[in-house]
Amino acid sequence: MKITKAEVGHVARLARLELTEEEQETFTGQMDAILAYVEKLNGLDTAGIIPTAHAVPMENAFREDEVVPSIGVDNALANAPDRVEGFFRVPKVIE
């Protein structure tokens, strides 16, 4: 086994996903198969190869430090389920 049901449960919790027992079983099996497949790569000699950080062979995409107009508060909040004044309103966050 490449991954345990407990690990799947942990990752789901971190992602705030609620999985049923059954789903956990299913995903554990599926993820295990995926990991086993990807593990084939371990058979290759990768010494001296820089880890790939990006699929596109490109580097240094920059923008200059110039202000572009923002979209405005109403656009910013257009999809907000709840708002007060110019704020998004969310359930109380306890500090």
């Binding site: 971190l14 990006h54 995409a61 430090d65 923002s70 910013a76 110019g86 309103r89 966050v93 500090e95």
Partner: protein, 479 residues
């Protein structure tokens, strides 16, 4: 048992760019909530971040000024966690390949120089701001303002080389001075432009095994850093002495009580699952780029102080005061470029000018007394046009009005009287009016001399050349 504290600091430096790190929204402080946002910093699906080149330039400067190596290749990573001030559900940061590594700063505490290692400096975006309670209508909710989201930060991580609160403060002050000198941060701690998290642990003296550490968050003044660290050291020692164990946790400093307290249990949240951000391509920095940055660095305070001692012959104290801020140092240097007697300039800048500015709560940038005006004043003294004492009167007027000192002297009739005939005439009058004191002097009571000097200066409204007054008066009194 005796304990030794072990401290490492993480400092967040907000960069002085016009725009955010991955989008063109303004970073101006104090705008109305969510008015400086766009799909990128709101975390809208499909919006793509593009790196602000200036952030990279500033990071390179910071790295060079703190003796770091600049990584030829660095990569942005996603730090995953959920919090309402973080719209994407991850923060774009750097993890395995930060832009700067292996630096150090030398600090001085109690006359001893100590080297504090800098593990790394990386670039990242700030989160938004949460408000609780102080907005009508929020009720039991919290408000989210994403203006600050995506503001560029550098995180400067020190090695656990710091052993006391005083060392921590010395390190922070030095780092603060450097980033402000570099012009990459405004250094405003109250507004959060320079904030510090302190990792503190204690171990028995002589041990080489660090204790469990706690992280105290967002301490926003040098004084609070000292208090927070001292309190945390004491607290940990107390827990251990009572047979307890230190729990690895995040703590919050409370400036009202000077103590720290445990924050939300976020053990699980520490599982950040970093991975390279597929939205951003790797950053490759050429040797030429680093070299250009090195050449464009301003002279840093440490180098300035050394130069002031060696070349200008100032005292260590003068050099320290004059380099405290880049503006003050540049003002001083603008003066010495026009007028080479550095010590006189230093005396006036640190004396009259600083006093006047402090009284008004102003900075050197607000001063009406330009370097040229101050130098003009010093030259008037050198030429004997005015005395050093009158110069202070002229200075006050110049400070208030920004008028040229020569104009003030002419306008107010402050030209020093160096005409010996005129001075003799005044002295004769005074001696005639104070025959008794003349007798006393001649009878051996030499203290009366001061009385005569005072009278002559008063009669001349302070304008008589003091050296000439002394000379002529002495001659005449001795008869």
């Amino acid at each position: 048992m005796q304990y030794q504290a072990v401290i490492g600091l993480e400092v967040h430096v907000q960069l002085l760019t016009n725009t955010k790190i991955f989008c063109g929204c303004s970073t101006k402080f104090g705008a109305s909530p969510n008015s400086q946002t766009c799909p990128v910093c709101l975390g809208m699906p499909g919006a793509l971040p593009v790196l602000n080149k200036k952030v990279v330039e500033y990071a390179i400067r910071a790295g060079l000024a703190t003796n770091c190596s600049i990584a030829q290749r660095s990569v942005f990573a996603r730090k995953n966690y959920f919090y309402p001030d973080l719209p994407k559900g991850y923060q774009i940061s750097q993890f395995e390949l930060p832009i700067c590594v292996n630096g150090h700063l030398d600090i001085e505490v109690d006359g001893k120089v100590k080297r504090i290692g800098i593990t790394r400096i990386h670039m990242e975006e700030d989160a938004g701001k949460l408000v609780h309670g102080d907005v009508p209508g929020l009720g039991q909710g919290s408000g989210v303002d994403l203006n600050r989201a995506c503001t560029p930060l550098l995180e400067v991580v020190s090695e656990p080389d710091i052993r006391s609160a005083d060392e921590a403060v010395a390190y922070l002050k030095k780092l603060h001075q450097i980033v402000v000198y570099l012009g990459i941060c405004d250094g405003n701690m109250e507004e959060g432009s320079f904030r510090c998290d302190a990792n503190v642990s204690v171990m028995p003296v002589g041990s080489d095994k660090f204790g469990t550490r706690t992280e105290t968050k967002n301490v926003n003044s040098f004084r609070f850093v000292k208090q927070a660290i001292e309190h945390e050291i004491e607290r940990q020692i107390e827990v251990i002495e009572e047979g307890g164990r230190i729990v690895q946790e995040t703590r919050l400093f409370d400036p009202n009580t000077g103590t720290t307290r445990s924050m939300r249990g976020k053990e699980e949240a520490h599982d950040y699952r970093y991975f390279p951000d597929p939205d951003l391509v790797p950053l490759v920095i050429s040797a030429d780029w680093v070299e250009d940055a090195r050449l464009s660095l301003p002279e840093l305070p440490e180098a300035k102080r050394a130069r002031y001692l060696a070349e200008l012959g100032l005292t260590a104290y003068d050099a320290e005061v004059l380099t405290a801020s880049r503006e003050l140092a540049e003002y001083f240097e603008a003066c010495t470029a026009l007028y080479p007697q550095a010590k006189s300039v230093a005396n006036w800048v640190m004396g009259e000018l600083t006093r006047a500015l402090n009284e008004d709560g102003k900075g050197i940038a607000d001063s009406r007394v330009t370097p040229q005006l101050l130098v003009d004043l010093l030259e008037l003294i050198d030429k004997g046009t005015i005395s050093g004492k009158i110069a202070k009167t002229v200075f006050d007027e110049m400070y208030k009005t920004g008028k040229a000192p020569a104009a003030i002297v002419a306008e107010k009739g402050l030209v020093q009287v160096s005409d010996t005939g005129e001075i003799e005439r005044i002295i004769d009058q005074i001696m005639a009016a104070n025959a008794g004191q003349v007798e006393e002097f001649r009878g051996g009571k030499e203290k009366v001399f001061g009385f005569f000097v005072g009278q002559v200066m008063r009669a001349s409204k302070g304008k008589a050349n003091p050296a000439l007054v002394n000379e002529i008066l002495l001659k005449k009194l001795k008869g």
